[in-house]
């Protein structure tokens, strides 16, 4: 069934049908671009004017302090960290409109045993939660104050020796590290005493109406019924809400099981038990949601980030990853003989780049089947949970240095959230390196999606031996990828034009994290719900025949683990040890 899918008549580039002007308003790909642009422009219009008071003066003050401190001591001093903390607090999302948007677009809240807590919390419950968390916060605060005093004393002693005494310097670094760890713990504890009362239900209903109208306009113009879509959308949205609710449950969160898994699972359960009601089908628009979400994802791919950790990061994330991706794909074709090329590339990208996000982008770029995307996502989620638990334990057990361990995990664990958890579990240095490597890898999604789209229309979907003319490539090219790339380029340029400090405040912690990212999450969740609602277990089983996707994933990931560790060691310890020493 899955065999030679790329050679089915509808996918082979043989016809010379040209593009029409009406495609601009009749095709889903273009609607994804228009809708994406609307959200991105809206995000910029809302957040760019939201400069925190005295932003530039505070940035200048912090940078002056950083410059002074970096020249004063051979290690990061207390004042150095405090200057970075001061910059960290500046966010456009902290403005009153930013907070209102957050309240309106919020996903269901975290809960442990009662799912109602995900949607509603009374003032009394909030007060009780705060009171319960207070003793822990006070203890963490006291520990932080103590650690700061010890760090100050050690730094003063090191400064007294003109920072020329290696023993005193090492002691100061150790004490400052302990203070930072205590500071992080106290910050986390502080969040738990800030519980507020909420009732998310009216906001969720409002959000559902906004999104139904937003997508419904395109549906209507593309010649389908707005009314039927609107009613059906409420059902799909409800399942998406339940998926977010399940992912917010403490145990699910602990194992790194996110909304994508729950959305697919809930959809699958409905479609394979009582059946997806026919009236829901008009809103089961997987591609429409995914493509719109991908245009928004483009804005989050900021190319300036690839230099965040210098050359070692580029080697670990941008050299190893494409090698693993291409090798796994070739291995899948030649050795494992995965019958479907689209399944092969989706699993390869999902495993080598960054899990679910890469799987979505690649699957959409090569027009993979929904079952193939489901399989790739499923494999990634299972291995992410296992690697998130096993890798830090192994790294600790063998005594691997934090920087090396962080680079290794950042380059190999698929899901971004799991990288943060595993990295932070090892320590701050491991977190910084792991997160930065993963972030650089995230940026690679844009390049991978573009290359896969071009390769597929020009080579895979073409008849063997036939040269595909440029006009045909243009006709077959998934146009939303252009929106995805354009959004990435525009936002990268915008970020650079502001400079990294103001870009952080207004673009990343404004238009992106405060707006487009929220909608992108909802759109992907709706897409995964739609996938589940339209998928049959039996069909899914066909794609897993012989366990070939699993074999491909395991072999590719094993190669990834070896190559990433080797490259990380060479880069961080043999070629650029000075960068490692700085971290």
């Amino acid at each position: 069934m899955a065999e030679n899918q790329s050679n089915t008549a509808d996918q082979v580039v043989v016809d010379r049908e040209g593009a029409k002007l009406s495609d601009l308003w009749l095709k889903e790909d273009y609607w994804a671009i228009w809708l994406g642009i609307v959200i991105l422009i809206l995000g910029l219009l809302i957040f760019l004017p939201q400069k925190p008071e005295g932003m530039q003066a505070k940035i200048d003050e912090a940078n002056t302090s950083l410059k002074t401190e970096s020249a004063r001591a051979p290690f990061k001093t207390i004042a150095w960290y405090q200057a970075v903390d001061a910059k960290k607090k500046l966010k456009a999302t902290g403005s009153s409109i930013g907070k209102k948007i957050k309240t309106f677009t919020n996903k269901p809240h975290g809960w442990k045993t009662n799912p109602i807590d995900s949607f509603y919390r009374s003032q009394a419950d909030a007060d009780a939660a705060n009171a319960k968390a207070k003793p822990k916060y006070e203890a963490a605060q006291a520990t932080e104050a103590e650690a700061l005093t010890a760090a100050q004393a050690a730094e003063t002693a090191a400064a007294g020796a003109g920072f020329n005494d290696a023993t005193l310097n090492a002691d100061a670094v150790k004490k400052i590290d302990a203070w930072r760890a205590a500071h992080t713990k106290a910050s986390s504890a502080k969040k738990k005493i800030g519980a507020k009362a909420y009732n998310q239900i009216p906001y969720l209903i409002g959000l559902m109406i906004v999104m139904a109208v937003f997508f419904g306009i395109g549906i209507q113009v593309m010649g389908k019924s707005f009314g039927k879509f609107f009613g059906a959308f409420a059902f799909v949205f409800l399942i998406a809400v339940l998926a977010y609710c399940a992912s917010a449950q403490a145990t699910a969160k602990g194992y790194g099981i996110g909304y994508a898994a729950w959305a697919i699972l809930f959809g699958l359960i409905i479609s394979n038990t009582v059946g997806t009601p026919k009236w829901v089908m008009p809103a089961v628009q997987t591609e429409y949601y995914i493509k719109t979400g991908l245009v928004l994802l483009g804005a989050e791919i900021l190319f300036g980030k690839i230099l965040s950790i210098g050359v070692p990061g580029i080697f670990v994330a941008w050299v190893v990853t494409p090698i693993v991706l291409v090798s796994t794909y070739i291995f899948g074709q030649k050795v494992v003989k995965v019958p479907s090329k689209t399944l092969n590339i989706t699993v390869s990208a999902d495993m080598s780049v960054c899990g679910v996000s890469a799987a979505i982008a690649t699957a959409a770029a090569c027009r993979a089947k929904k079952e193939e995307l489901t399989l790739a996502v499923g494999l990634s989620l299972v291995f992410t949970s296992v690697m998130m638990i096993v890798m830090p334990a192994f790294i600790k057990a063998v005594g691997m240095p934090e920087v090396l361990g962080g680079a290794w995990m950042g380059g190999t664990i698929d899901a971004t959230g799991a990288v943060a958890a595993a990295g932070a579990f090892l320590g701050d240095r491991a977190l910084y390196v792991a997160a930065t490597i993963k972030m650089i890898q995230n940026v690679l999604i844009g390049v991978v999606a573009f290359c896969v789209a071009v390769y597929w229309v020009a080579r895979v979907d073409a008849v063997q031996g036939q040269k595909v003319p440029a006009s045909e490539i243009w006709y077959r090219f998934p146009k939303f990828v252009l929106g995805f790339i354009a959004a990435s380029i525009v936002f990268s340029l915008l970020y650079q034009s502001f400079g990294s400090d103001a870009g952080y405040v207004l673009v990343e912690h404004g238009a992106i994290r405060g707006f487009s990212r929220i909608f992108r999450g909802w759109f992907f969740c709706l897409a995964f719900t739609s996938i589940g609602l339209a998928t049959n277990f039996r069909e899914l089983g066909e794609y897993f025949k012989g366990g070939k996707p699993l074999i491909l994933y395991v072999c590719g990931q094993s190669f990834n683990l070896i190559l990433t560790l080797t490259m990380a060691y060479i880069m961080f310890y043999l070629v650029f040890p000075e960068i490692t020493a700085r971290i």
Partner: protein
């Protein structure tokens, strides 16, 4: 819902067959919900007690890490890591010369 078009199958009238199928579907749905609840409220927490798993799940809970997110813009730790690395590269400690 999935429809059965033939008038009779296996000797049962279509409407009766539909009801039977629907009934089976509802049972399967309830069973699935039960299985999910079992995983979330019993099997998952039991596994969390294992010495290999407990430290990291406890850490995720205490620190509030969004371990189940898929992109760097969804995780607060990435923002922290990025700003720290950016400033480390821009203002690397090097003194006193």
């Amino acid at each position: 819902m999935e429809q059965v078009n033939s008038s009779t199958l296996g000797g049962l009238p279509a409407t009766q067959l539909n009801n039977k199928k629907r009934g089976k579907g509802v049972v399967a749905l309830l069973f699935s919900i039960l299985a999910i609840m079992l995983c979330l409220f019993y099997i998952g927490p039991q596994l969390e007690k294992l010495p290999l798993i407990q430290p990291i799940t406890q850490f995720i809970d205490e620190r509030g890490v969004e371990a189940n997110m898929y992109f760097y813009t969804e995780v607060a730790e990435f923002s922290e890591a990025h700003i720290n690395m950016d400033n480390t590269m821009d203002y690397p400690p090097h003194g006193p010369q």
